[in-house]
């Protein structure tokens, strides 16, 4: 879904996703086809026949998807507030690795958008 959303693909075939992903890593057509089919089965994509192939469309935007899945994540929000509004609470040292991953992800996304 990330590949679909970040490339803003509205109506796409499996080969369109494969083209985008092949730039990042080696990946087989059948693998992409399996994942796309599973996403369709889970209701995240809709599809219509176009000759011998299917054209898929995302049913939700990234924002709508995140909002729909946010409830459980929001349960973990700050439990003991202060008398001020902070941009973000400090996380534990153990979670610093998660922050490294997020930072790398942001850097990559910024580079993609700058291209």
């Amino acid at each position: 879904m990330d590949a679909v959303w970040s490339k803003n693909l509205q109506s796409f075939a499996v080969s369109d996703v494969l083209t985008g992903l092949e730039k990042q890593r080696d990946i087989a057509y059948t693998t992409v086809m399996t994942v796309v089919s599973r996403l369709y089965t889970k209701g995240l994509l809709s599809r219509e026949r176009d000759g011998k192939r299917y054209l898929y469309s995302p049913k939700l935007t990234r924002e709508q998807f995140l909002e729909a899945t946010a409830r459980e994540v929001l349960d973990g929000a700050v439990s003991d507030q202060r008398a001020m509004a902070m941009l973000a609470e400090k996380v534990s040292v153990a979670s610093a690795n998660d922050l490294d991953d997020l930072e790398a992800l942001i850097r990559r996304r910024r580079q993609e958008l700058e291209r």
Binding site: W5, S6, N8, T61, R62, E63, L66, E67, A68, A70, R71, V73, L74, D75, G76, A77, V78, S79, Q81, R82, A83, M84, A85, M86, L87, A88, E89, K90, V91, S92, V93, A94, S95, A96, D98, L99, L102, E103, L105, I106, R109, R110, L113
Partner: protein, 342 residues
């Protein structure tokens, strides 16, 4: 002994039965709102805030006001306020009000002390801080029209990143360590996020919410998951408003991650859940970078004025209508005492 029974039993009934019952009703309504597929956990923040605070504050306000009204011999509101010659006071409702106020004060002061105990760093005026940072902040603020009304102060407090502090005239506090490790676009986006906290008087809002939870003995136990969701959604709402207001989404994502980064192993650990919340906010900002979000929750910033209006109406209600519920509580207490002594 007889005169003390209504104030004591009445207060116990309000605190241990009425408030938990109201919190339970609020919980049911909040659960319905949060499960609404159309709105979801990021929407209806104003209404959810009113339910979280109002479920405690409004019943308390009604009982206090009704008690005061009865203590003033049932005169109309204007007479209560201005007729100083009304001296015939009903003793027991007055004592009930005093007992309620004492309990509220005890619970509230305890919470206030915890909230303010060393949490808010002392800001330095910009002029007292080093010239480079001062010039940098002024340059950032001047370059972004939306930030120009912000009052910004810096603090050298360790472990501090950026936050909004101050109840009626909030200021944005920027930690020098945080400011020194992020570039200008990241700092500008962080200030854009704080601008929404300032505009909505969030420190005041958070304080009222925490006080409401403290005054309800079962408030935190019943409402905590909804409060946590509201806080998380509120931060995500400020991210969205910052982007709608012209801040860049990805630098804001970077600011969030930098602000959350522990700078010392002695930082109190808040657990992996908070990292998950950060991840959600970052991914939402990715979505906002791809497609500028629509403005959301237009009435959200009116939550505080609406809350005060409702409070005022609740305070006026017993003076203009009836205080039958308090009478029932009064006679119920007397009957309970009679039953006990029989």
């Amino acid at each position: 002994m007889n005169e003390a029974i209504f104030p004591l039993l009445g207060t116990a009934f309000v605190m241990l039965v009425v408030l938990p019952a109201c919190a339970l009703v609020a919980k049911l309504m909040l659960a319905t709102l949060e499960r609404d597929a159309l709105s979801g956990p990021f929407h209806g923040l104003g209404l959810r805030y009113l339910l979280l605070t109002g479920s405690t504050v409004l019943p308390l306000a009604w009982f206090l006001s009704a008690g005061m009204h009865q203590a003033e011999s049932g005169q109309s509101m204007l007479a209560c306020l201005f007729d100083h010659e009304t001296t015939a006071r009903c003793f027991e409702p007055g004592l009930f009000v005093l007992t309620m106020l004492a309990v509220m004060l005890a619970l509230g002061v305890q919470r206030l002390r915890r909230l303010f105990a060393g949490n808010i760093p002392r800001p330095l005026a910009l002029a007292d801080e080093d010239e480079v940072l001062r010039a940098r902040l002024e340059q950032i603020i001047a370059a972004h029209p939306g930030l120009q009304l912000l009052r910004v102060r810096v603090t050298t407090a360790p472990e501090f990143s950026i936050a909004t502090s101050g109840l009626l005239r909030p200021v944005v506090l920027v930690g020098t360590a945080f400011a020194s490790r992020v570039p200008n676009d990241v700092l500008a986006s962080a200030l854009g996020h704080e601008r929404e906290h300032v505009r909505s008087l969030d420190p005041l809002r958070y304080l009222l919410l925490e006080l409401a939870l403290a005054l309800n003995p079962f408030g935190r136990a019943l409402l905590q998951p909804h409060v946590a969701r509201w806080y998380g959604a509120r931060e995500a709402h400020c991210d969205r408003t910052a982007v709608v207001g012209g801040c860049a989404a990805l630098p804001l994502a970077e600011a969030i991650v930098q602000a959350a980064r522990p700078t010392s192993p002695h930082v109190p650990a808040l657990g992996a859940h908070d990292a998950k919340l950060l991840e959600l906010r970052v991914k939402l900002l990715f979505a906002f970078a791809e497609r500028c979000p629509a403005r959301c929750c237009r009435h959200e910033s009116s939550a505080v004025p609406v809350a005060f209006l409702l409070l005022l109406l609740t305070l006026l209600l017993p003076h203009q209508t009836s205080t039958a519920a308090l009478d029932a509580l009064h006679t119920g207490s007397e009957h309970a005492l009679a039953h006990f002594w029989r």
